[in-house]
């Protein structure tokens, strides 16, 4: 197991270099002058543009630029935005918020999704099963921004249960509704995935054996069935956390959450290359780590797939 982990960690290095270089190339080599729209309807003064080019090494070749960027990154320096704010400060402000949002969303997704999946998987074709199937179909077919705006309008403006937007502190309580919106789509998938997986394992030999042995229902379902049925679900949840961290642009936009998604979107629009690269580098790391964790969890859940 130790060697496996080590090998996986080493594999991460080329993946990390490849992805970050790709991103750096995409961001800085994009056609268009990053300072074109920066001074409004007039051109920026020459001295301003020259100083900016110098600051971001834009006069070097792309490889030298990337080398310099990577060297700074390894020393923990993410660079500065055009406005002179350290990117690390932006990340330090935005990351905890996004992490909280992603955790809330993941909790909602896992709790509601898995529960609904288990219940319907055990009792197929009942009323509850139809209800879950219809409601998940409903969730899947509605775009996230509709769910978001409707909940904001109803809960926030009409009934006044929540604030229409999230404050800059963005505590856990405020994030429940946005988290639900963010998770709604995946929640439906998790429910359906769990349902199918449970239904399949229900007919497995070892479940029949467990029932025949007279084990209580809770143990049969909780330990024998869920453990095996959870494999595909875990894979889905793991990669979803990564998706939540980077893909919450719509939800963050609606509820004005100062998180990573909106920051990336805005930085791409204003060609803030240093910010985009810094943020995406972190997202790549999150994906890599989550993938590793998922793979390791496989071994724990199903001893047959232990790695040497």
């Amino acid at each position: 197991m130790g060697r496996y982990v080590l090998r996986r960690l080493l594999q991460m290095v080329p993946v990390f270099l490849g992805t970050t270089f790709g991103i750096y190339l995409l961001v800085w080599a994009l056609p268009g002058d990053p300072f074109a729209g920066k001074c409004g309807e007039r051109d920026c003064p020459d001295s301003f543009v020259a100083a900016m080019n110098e600051k971001y090494n834009l006069d070097d070749t792309i490889f030298v630029q990337y080398g310099k960027y990577l060297w700074n990154l390894l020393r923990g320096d993410f660079g500065e935005t055009f406005s002179g704010v350290p990117v690390s400060e932006l990340i330090a402000n935005a990351y905890p918020v996004t992490l909280r949002l992603a955790l809330v969303a993941l909790a909602v997704e896992a709790l509601i999704g898995v529960t609904a999946g288990v219940v319907t998987g055990l009792r197929r074709r009942g009323f509850l099963d139809s209800l879950v199937l219809v409601s998940t179909l409903f969730l899947i077919s509605i775009p996230v921004f509709v769910t978001g705006y409707v909940l904001q309008l109803l809960l926030g403006l009409e009934w006044g249960i929540i604030n229409p937007t999230v404050s800059s502190k963005a505590g856990f309580g405020e994030l429940i509704v946005p988290g639900f919106v963010l998770a709604s789509l995946s929640m439906a998938y998790v429910a359906r995935l769990t349902r199918a997986s449970i239904a399949e394992t229900r007919r497995a030999d070892y479940v029949r054996t467990a029932v025949a042995k007279g084990l209580p229902q809770s143990r049969v379902v909780g330990v024998h069935m869920l453990r095996n049925a959870a494999l595909p679900v875990i894979t889905f949840l793991g990669t979803d956390l990564g998706a939540f961290m980077g893909g919450a642009i719509v939800t963050e936009g609606i509820f004005n959450i100062p998180g990573i998604g909106g920051l990336i979107f805005k930085s791409i629009q204003s060609k803030e290359g240093a910010t985009v690269t810094g943020l995406v580098v972190l997202l790549v790391l999150v994906y890599l780590v989550m993938n590793l964790l998922v793979d390791l969890l496989y071994g724990v859940l199903d001893p047959r797939i232990r790695y040497d």
Partner: protein, 543 residues
């Protein structure tokens, strides 16, 4: 992206406070809650918070509240008033002497002295400091030595030569409260510009430690800095030793950063946010804002105009008859009433109606919808082919551009379509690189309230915003004469003549001037928009 549109709001005004010294009666402090706190919509400042380097909306709002310059503009009438300056005297509009009022202090307790202005202006103009505000000092003698022009343009291989000095020879400190400015050429309009925030004074501590200043800026305006959380908010509080005439009638001011106007709007409707100076397009659609806000809608005309520019470097648009045909084929009345429900007014010239000296009907029949004449001009031009209107499509520009294209197409009977650009950056990039293939959206937001600002930067040969490469030596001569006229009246007269000459060439099609529609929360018993498309902080009263 909407926010980027407003980076044009290089708008001036170390704002606040000087509105109407005489009218203290009905808006005297004491009405309402003078210890109140308000929150105002903002976008993330794009530059470090230094006035000389801030020319966009998000930072500009903060700088406006924190700094006061030599003069100030009345937020409602745009009239010019002395602020820190006690008196401004000039010799032939070329050598200006500024005497400062005593008693003005920076937020750190130091006095505002003549040298604070001189040092700040020198710093901003100095090339290697790379400020966005540097070109505003190009009138002053010695600017070319501190900020030498790049010999082959910024895209050329050569770097700009190093400046020989970091002090402009035209600036001279006489004593603590007096300084003298010598311009390269006489310019009656120079003193009108000085309310723009890039001309603000900077305290000594700025020059000692710039990084510390950027972290906690120190101004001399009505509000002082409390804290800033990047991406979330900037908090200010009233500066009680402020020496200006009109002190704010509330205490704490928070500029809240929103991801978009759309995100801020629900907060305004729900009274979680106190003011947005411009509502998002989706709130204006179908008059939704009137249902949502009722009497909390705040509206007024502002110093903005919208035009259609021609890339005169393209062979296609060199014929003035084609340009005239296009202008006369656009039904401004119909577009402004149908699309903007009357919040835009058809333009009849290049100069904004709010400005001193504005004259009605300068453009005459060239800016009036006249299908017959339009077709006549088209026939005279001999043009055949297709036309396009290029614009960024965000910020509500696609609607009118489509309508204008249709108007041209239906009137002239030639193909004309709206072609959206991918983003404002891409759009500006092509304009700057002179790569525009067809006519495109242009517009102007006043830097300072003067006719000059609507002509010189746009229509003079080689001027900073003359993107269409318009050039007419006679116009240049007329503008130069107006710039250096001995009196303001004379100079206004000459500017108006220049305007008429430009309109005769029609390098731009004037479209309309603009109202700004904002909104306030029900916590504010009074809040007005300024002519500069910002919240007039002096008008704010908390219920």
């Amino acid at each position: 992206m909407k926010a980027r549109m407003r980076t044009t709001v290089v708008l001036a005004a170390a704002t606040l406070l000087l509105s109407s010294c005489g009218g203290g009666g009905d808006d005297a402090p004491g009405t309402g809650n003078t210890e109140g706190a308000i929150s105002v919509f903002n976008t993330e400042p794009e530059n470090p918070l230094v006035p000389g380097n801030t020319t966009e909306f998000g930072g500009g709002q903060v700088m406006d509240a924190m700094f006061t310059g030599l003069i100030d503009y009345d937020q409602q009438t745009t009239e010019v008033k002395n602020a820190v300056a006690d008196s401004i005297t000039d010799v032939d509009s070329k050598v200006y002497t500024f005497k400062l009022k005593p008693g003005w202090k920076f937020h750190d307790g130091t006095d505002v002295k003549a040298k604070n202005f001189v040092d700040a202006w020198n710093w901003t103009a100095y090339g290697p400091n790379a400020t966005q505000g540097a070109p505003f000092f190009s009138d002053i003698q010695g600017y070319d030595e501190v900020n030498p022009a790049d010999p082959d343009g910024k895209s050329g291989p050569q770097p700009a030569p190093a400046p020989t000095t970091d002090k402009m020879s035209g600036l001279k400190v006489i004593d603590d409260t007096t300084f003298e400015v010598t311009l390269k050429n006489s310019s009656p309009v120079f003193k009108v510009k000085l309310g723009y925030e890039v001309y603000s004074p900077l305290p000594d501590s700025f020059f000692a430690d710039k990084a510390a200043f950027e972290a906690k800026p120190i101004g001399n305006g009505p509000f002082k800095f409390v804290s800033r959380q990047v991406g979330a908010d900037v908090k200010l509080t009233r500066f009680d030793e402020y020496a200006g005439m009109d002190k704010p009638k509330f205490k704490d001011l928070t500029f809240r950063v929103y991801q978009s106007r759309e995100a801020a709007y629900p907060d305004l409707v729900g009274n979680q946010l106190d003011f947005i100076e411009e509502l998002p397009p989706n709130a204006l659609a179908g008059q939704q804002h009137k249902t949502d806000l009722g009497d909390r809608v705040v509206e007024r005309d502002s110093l903005i105009n919208q035009t259609l520019a021609f890339p005169l470097y393209q062979e296609k648009y060199k014929n003035p008859d084609l340009r005239k045909a296009i202008s006369m084929a656009i039904n401004r009345e119909e577009i402004t009433t149908r699309i903007y429900e009357g919040s835009r007014q058809p333009a009849d010239g290049l100069v904004h109606p709010l400005l001193k000296g504005y004259q009605k009907g300068q453009c005459g029949e060239l800016c009036t919808f006249n299908p017959e004449k339009a077709r006549e001009h088209l026939a005279k031009s001999g043009f055949t082919g297709t036309l396009k209107i290029i614009s960024n499509s965000d910020g509500g520009h696609s609607e009118w551009a489509t309508a204008a294209a249709n108007s041209i197409k239906n009137t002239l009977g030639i193909e004309c379509v709206f072609e959206p650009a991918t983003s404002l950056g891409d759009f500006r990039g092509k304009i700057n690189a002179r790569e525009m293939t067809d006519m495109y959206r242009a517009g102007w937001v006043a830097d300072y309230p003067s006719i000059e600002n609507f002509l010189n930067p746009i229509y003079r040969t080689g001027a900073s915003s003359n993107d269409g490469e318009y050039s007419n030596p006679e116009v240049d001569a007329k503008l130069a004469a107006a710039d250096t006229a001995s009196s303001e009246e004379e100079s206004i007269k000459l500017y108006l003549e220049a305007e008429k000459m430009i309109l005769n060439d029609l390098p731009f099609v004037p479209l309309w001037t603009q109202n700004t529609i904002g909104g306030k929360s029900d916590r504010l018993s009074s809040a007005k928009l300024s002519a500069f498309r910002k919240l007039d902080l002096t008008s704010v009263e908390v219920a």
